[in-house]
Assembly symmetry: C2
Homo-oligomer: 383 residues x 2
């Protein structure tokens, strides 16, 4: 299957590209490399040293014998995107190519505008490219569990049947996203739902939870294949960040009470979910939506897990601090999620074991000298 | 009250500006005049000859003694918008300044991108300007009944209480908009809801129905005050367009079966609704949502009303044609709307009487020579 990974130079994208390439998908990466520029802007870095995209794919060819084509450019550049579609003729298009940090989108007006413009208009271009050049292509779009917010009812997978005054209808699940970034994913879902229904396109929307974990085995075959690992307050996700803090002797920074509960997924399952979605395409005119998570945890539970593993396996005395919450969010709330559709397709889950936490600990300890401590707590305030 | 009418050179905006100015609001118009440029682009025109914005406000001062300040510029130009907020210090901001035609947004990729960029990012700028310069200012935002689509349950005013698996929550009413334009209003609502909750702003979202009717009395005081009147397939609304067709001897073009039912409002009530919203501001941190309509009609019902008035009052033999529907929409469906909140605030409705239809007929007959017949059916296809 000819498959494009847009955003294939990023954390989830690079892992997915290798995973699918290893499995005989014909993979092309489309990326504008902006994530590397944002590191410059923020003064941040990947905890792991990462090679350039050129070096990565060259090394991958050497190691695996498989070729990954690359297109460096922007989804918002229509001439570029049309050329990619006409030349590569994708049968599936995995869309990771969005600004994906909630804190980044909340820095100020410019960052809000950049995030909404880049994400929403880029996706519109992809929809038009599919309509024009590849109407049978399957869009595999990364959404986020953060679209739902924390409703007081169970979170279904994308749709909700509503009964009201004795009548019934089924809607996209009503959303209550918590940042201008999360809002872009809601806008995307609404735009995609309309395009799918109006033009008869195929799409699967994967509402992914918070991703944790380190390199899948493929990334470990050579240093040039190593994936990025974010630990800063803007791009780092909570579990990865806690482990980094513990490894370097910083207290774990729990925002507020820590009762904030979210759906989580191991990067090893992310790549498998994409494979499953690609092998089970939506029908023409259908938008499938899956909740791409395996477990739910509260922030405080995660801190306690990290504290325990730090003590038991590394003899570390890890402190937990409740710090002022930069976000506007409920710190105690109901949270229950349905997450069965990907399992029904065959996902065998990699859950959060102590071994997984230990592996991330080791990565952190190995790269301790690269860590810039002041980045760990650099989240902007939502206010 | 110091009140900005953004989009004040347009159809609803100009009528609103005069109405509020007459009532001793201190009115400023903000407009980039793009609607006039779109006439150039589409080769279309207003059925009524309209004066320039400068001439309009000069004449208004002459006729009424009231000054309307004007700021010509774009909400997407942050320097301009900041200057407007800092200089005028608005207590309310009426936001009509969006690309408001569904067919225009469906012409092609460029028109989709333009519409979503202009509307969504412009509104984000307004939210940031309020946060930064006027946190107590009341945003009065024009939404549309088209955000809801045609659900199989009754359409409440903005919110829906949902019971699911024995638990309850209240959400923004789930939407199913029918064009890339209508989608921008849904994106706006979601962005505004977030900003109001996160920053404690005040906002009222008016989900307006299809507007019909001609000049309110104020516009008739002088030819330089006359409002625009769209009759083309892109910007003309259905009832106005049917009457134009009847007046010039064209058959009424009902899209498909004509069972499409929508909420409607007379332009005379539009201006009163804005006044009521301004006088009853939302609280800090509150997004009020009203359905700004007075009656529901199917397209076919409207055609038959026009046919009847044409015969009875003008002796015209009006034909009704069912033409191929350029839109993708249900042509027969359930439709029921709640519309009590504006009445509770004191709205006394101007319903669709035969006299109202007759008045529009007369306007059409008076301006017959300005009509370009090929514009009446120039809607692009949704496909």
């Amino acid at each position: 299957m000819k498959i494009i990974i847009a955003g294939g130079d990023g954390f989830c994208g690079w892992a997915t590209a290798l995973w699918l390439s290893e499995r005989d998908f014909d993979v092309a990466i489309v990326d504008n490399l902006v994530r590397r520029e944002i590191d410059e802007e923020m003064g941040s870095n990947s905890l792991t040293p990462i090679a350039s995209l050129e070096e990565r794919v060259a090394k991958w060819k050497e190691v695996s014998g498989k070729e990954i084509k690359t297109y460096v450019g922007d989804l918002n550049d229509w001439d570029f995107l049309s050329k990619v579609f006409q030349e590569f003729k994708p049968e599936a298009f995995v869309h990771y190519a969005e600004q994906r940090s909630a804190p980044y989108s909340m820095i100020d007006r410019e960052h809000t505008i950049y995030t909404q413009q880049n994400n929403v208009l880029g996706t519109l271009n992809v929809l038009y490219a599919m309509k024009e050049f590849a109407p049978d292509c399957h869009l595999i779009k990364l959404g986020t569990m953060g679209e739902y917010g924390t409703p007081n009812i169970e979170i279904e997978e994308g749709y909700l049947e509503v009964e009201h005054k004795g009548r019934k209808d089924t809607f996209l699940f009503p959303k209550r996203p918590g940042s201008f970034y999360h809002l872009t994913k809601v806008h995307d879902t609404n735009n995609i739902f309309f395009a799918v229904n109006t033009w008869g396109l195929r799409a699967t929307d994967l509402n992914q939870g918070v991703v944790y974990g380190v390199d899948i085995d493929l990334n470990e075959k050579d240093p040039a294949l190593v994936n990025r690992f974010d630990y800063d307050g803007v791009y780092g996700t909570v579990l990865n960040r806690f482990i980094i803090q513990a490894a370097v002797g910083l207290p774990l920074s729990v925002y507020g009470k820590g009762g904030q509960t979210r759906g989580f997924i191991n990067i090893e399952d992310t790549v498998r979910c994409i494979e499953l979605a690609a092998k089970n395409p939506a029908d023409r005119g259908e938008l499938r939506i899956y909740n791409q998570i395996t477990e739910d945890f509260s922030v405080l539970e995660l801190a306690e897990r990290v504290q325990k593993v730090g003590k038991e396996r590394f003899g570390l005395d890890v402190e937990i601090n409740h710090v002022e919450n930069p976000r506007v969010e409920k710190e105690e709330h109901y949270f229950s999620t349905v997450k069965t559709k990907l399992k029904d397709l065959g996902l065998e889950e990699h859950l959060l074991t102590d071994e997984v936490i230990e592996k991330i600990f080791k990565l952190a300890l190995d790269n301790k000298d690269r860590l810039k401590k002041d980045l760990v707590m650099n989240s902007p305030s939502w206010k």
